[in-house]
């Protein structure tokens, strides 16, 4: 099985604060990997470093066999192959849903308008949002906005999706609709690297779970094993706290 994404020795500091202390991680094609770990453990930073929105200090990022951290690689071109969805949606408020989705395909991929719009509409239909295509983002619920953000990333036909706690900003009753979209993507074989606090969801969907603490991957493995019999005492402690908080 070929790796869709390989991270090697990723290091990242913000000033004196070393947030990623050498991350090695490989995601196979069609694999779903969940990153779990306490707030501040470096999950978001890792995802942002993966698509080079955040420059890294050391290490290599390889996407489908191409090292994108090599000098001379155009980062804008790389980002088109990596979809990323943030916790806070970040839809463009001055554009309709349709325009939000077609902007990057049309401007970055130079797709013609009709092709881009047809593709966008078919994606919206798939995720039950077709009737919302002419609305502005502030007229949508949080769950709808986040689903539009996912569609916007998918419209670039990425080879891998990075999801950063995409349900954390949502009211509890809206979480399910977003998670079901992600499940649907997993079923279709989308390669995904997902940072999440939803442990039940991670257990369901992940092929592999990585526990991150203080910028290191302390433990990884299939969800059944990580959640039932963690080897590392720190993983066990983290999961115990989650269970006490009633989130698993």
């Amino acid at each position: 099985m070929s790796a869709a994404l390989v991270l090697e020795g990723i290091r990242k500091s913000f000033g004196p604060n070393e947030v990623l202390k050498g991350i090695d991680l490989s995601v196979a094609a069609h694999e779903v990997v969940c990153l779990i770990g306490a707030s501040g453990s470096g999950k978001s930073t890792l995802l942002r470093c993966t698509n080079l929105v955040e420059p890294i200090d050391a290490g290599r990022v390889v996407v489908e066999g191409e090292e994108i951290t090599a000098s001379g690689v155009n980062a804008d071109r790389v980002r088109r192959r990596i979809g990323i969805v943030y916790q806070s949606f970040n839809l463009f408020p001055h554009m309709t849903v349709l325009r939000n989705i077609t902007l990057a395909p049309r401007e970055a991929l130079k797709m013609d308008r009709k092709t881009a719009e047809d593709h966008a509409v078919s994606l919206l239909e798939r995720f039950g949002l077709a009737d919302r295509k002419d609305e502005y983002p502030d007229r949508l619920s949080g769950g709808q906005q986040q689903r539009v953000a996912i569609v916007r990333a998918l419209a670039m036909r990425p080879s891998i999706m990075l999801l950063d706690e995409v349900t954390s900003a949502l009211d509890p009753e809206l979480v399910a609709e977003v998670l079901s979209v992600i499940r649907e993507l997993a079923r279709e074989g989308m390669t995904m690297l997902i940072a999440t606090h939803e442990m039940g969801f991670a257990r369901d969907i992940a092929d592999r779970v990585c526990f991150l603490e203080e910028g290191r991957i302390l433990e990884q493995g299939p969800p059944e094993r990580i959640f039932s019999s963690p080897k590392n005492p720190r993983t066990a402690r983290f999961l115990r706290r989650i269970i006490e908080a009633g989130r698993l």
């Binding site: 698509n51 929105v53 804008d76 071109r77 980002r79 088109r80 990323i84 943030y86 806070s88 970040n90 839809l91 463009f92 408020p93 001055h94 902007l103 990057a104 401007e107 970055a108 991929l109 502030d138 916007r152 990333a153 670039m156």
Partner: protein, 293 residues
Amino acid sequence: MTTRGTGPADNLEPSPGRGSKVLGNRAVLVSSASTVLFFAAIALVVALAPGSGLVAERFFSPFHLWQSIRGTPGEPSVLGAFLLNVYIFAISEVFILVLALVIAVVRGIPGPVFFPLRLVAIVYTDVFRGVPLILILYIIGFGVPGLGIAYFSYLSDVTYGIIALVLVYSAYVAEVYRAGIESVHESQNAAARSLGLTRFQSLRFVVLPQAIRRVIPPLLNDFIGLQKDTALVSVLGSIEAARAAQIYGASQFNYASYVVAALLFVLITIPLARFTDRLIARDKRRRQAGGLA
């Protein structure tokens, strides 16, 4: 002032029963009465002041008001001259909007390589906001022709005036744009870049449209200032409304021409000012609606 008196009463918490209505009626009554009294008092003071007949003759003589509007064989029409103000305003405005945007964008380009460009933009805004407009007018209007440079030293007075206005006002407007650009949250740019858009595409499609929408009211405010400052171009010899009024006043010993020029400036300012108010009110409503959502 006095009509504002109704404001606080309207804003009071609606009290139950008839109480608030009685208060509302009384507020209207009080404000009407005080408005009438206020202006009656002013009229009385003006009418009784020594020399009030002279003021009426020198500033408000119907004959001179009308004659300065029309112009005479010896004196230019103030109204006709005002068209030059409108022309200067219209041309300057277009160039200012473009040049200021370039300056604001250049100032925001990140990276050490572009430090010299950023420095130029910073020095530019500092200099042209710091130096009085009239000095810039002298420097451009009298200095440049004296240099004997091909083409640039042989432009018309009006053109030099427009250049000076564009240079000065672009510095102000660039700062307005910059405030707008900085008010757009960085996460918008991050989202655009994450989709594979270039820095320029993100600026063009995502950041600037939001920034410009937010700064339209302060922008219009600057244009009200520009509209008045077109009068200063007359120091280079152009006969615009203020200068035409001066010519009339000096030869007829009557200042009704100044009143006419003043009224023309006010007349063109009012629609711009009301339009700005409406945009501000609309923005405020939007923000409140957004806050509730």
